[in-house]
Amino acid sequence: MNAKQKAALAEYLIALADDELILGHRNSEWTGHAPILEEDIAFANLALDEIGHARLWYELAADLLGADRTRFPDQQVFFRPAADFRSLQLVELPKGDWAFSMLRQYLFDAFEQHRLVGLSESSHMPLAEIAVRVRNEELYHLRHTRAWVTRLGLGTEESQARMQAALDALWPYARGLGAALPGEADLPLGIVPASAALYPAWAAEVGAFLAEAGLRLPSETAAVQADRAVRSEYMQALVTEMQEVARLDPEAEW
């Protein structure tokens, strides 16, 4: 890859990492608040996994940019203005009720499996290697969220209603997963899978699965929220909270 392509791949990886980081941060908000102890533990684990995966992508981006991989993740997470993040609005939305967080995690993880399969075939070996390892771990997420989506969708009248409300609210944002990531268009073939090419398989898979769980996909007339250059109205508050301690003393040693 030439310098321009390396920069494009770094941009792509930072957007991927931002998604994982922000979703992980939202998941961490369930710690101490989940409806049952097991789910408190589960969401803490999901948070840890996503943030750990974000770190791997940030480190890989640092290598491409010739930056210090031991410092780069912290710089991106704790000292970057909210406006410079490239996360999808899907992951920025507040955690909502538990049905909302569970369904968001399912929709995101189901797409991520398709993306990781593509990334594990990347001709950029360091990227393929990380994708293979992340993919196996993510299988546990998908297994867990699938079980709960079914259970809640086919559960009580209230759980069904909450899941349907969550799906109606999330769907326009989730459809943004199929939009190209920053940098994607500038990469030669074989480095990353085209997001648009992953979308149909994901949509068919989640559509069939949600129908089995007694949920109706909303009509697709609502505008898709896919612009990663634009932050949702919730992001500034999230970033301020996430960076508060680090910014108090940027030189602190932990």
């Binding site: 097991e38 789910e39 533990i41 589960a42 803490a44 684990n45 999901l46 840890l48 996994d49 996503e50 943030i51 750990g52 995966h53 770190r55 791997l56 070996m125 290697e129 990380i130 293979v132 390892r133 992340v134 196996n136 771990e137 299988l139 546990y140 297994r143 867990h144």
Partner: protein, 168 residues
């Protein structure tokens, strides 16, 4: 000032592996990093020993502790000049856990991960034996446990909850 030891005074490879086999897993101190398959390779860069490790789970919070524990273990052997390299390829798999370590996990009340030969999802459908009473009448309570690498079960016979090390 760092004074490198002359090459002749190097401990043998067997001695180094032995020292590394004394380094406990930070979260499961009854097993060590060698039998867990975390230490992958030894190499020399001039006078500097390089130990390559592959962490179990990507987000394992213990892996920085592992690195400093390894260096401390090597220092006890007189090896001052050493570094720990982290490699993700091939990714760590529970298939690398030795038979001895599996037995230790079992004794500690942690069900060892089932052998899966690459097919994780199918093996998760198999019954899991309770590490205390051996009953296969157990139910999964949670795919996630107290660390990223464990999941929680309950035994329907002895009624005890227990954790299983996740197959990966």
């Amino acid at each position: 000032m760092v004074i490198s030891r002359p090459a002749a005074a190097r401990p043998s490879e067997a001695q180094i592996w032995e020292a590394l086999a004394q380094v406990p897993d930070p979260e499961m101190p009854f097993v060590n990093l060698v039998e867990m398959g975390i230490v992958r390779q030894l190499g020399w860069q001039g006078a500097r020993l390089q130990v390559t490790i592959t962490p179990t789970f990507a987000a394992c919070p213990a892996y920085e502790v592992m690195q400093s524990d390894i260096l401390a273990g090597l220092q006890a052997l007189g090896l001052e000049d050493a570094e720990v390299l982290v490699r993700h390829n091939p990714p760590w798999t529970s298939e690398w856990i030795s038979a001895e370590a599996r037995r230790k996990l079992q004794t500690a009340g942690l069900a060892p991960p089932p052998r899966h030969q690459g097919d994780l999802l199918t093996v998760l459908m198999d019954p899991v034996a309770c590490p205390r009473c051996g009953s296969e009448q157990t139910s999964l309570r949670n795919s996630f446990g107290t660390t990223p690498c464990r999941m929680i079960y309950t035994c329907n016979d002895c009624r005890e909850p227990f954790e299983m090390f996740k197959p990966l």
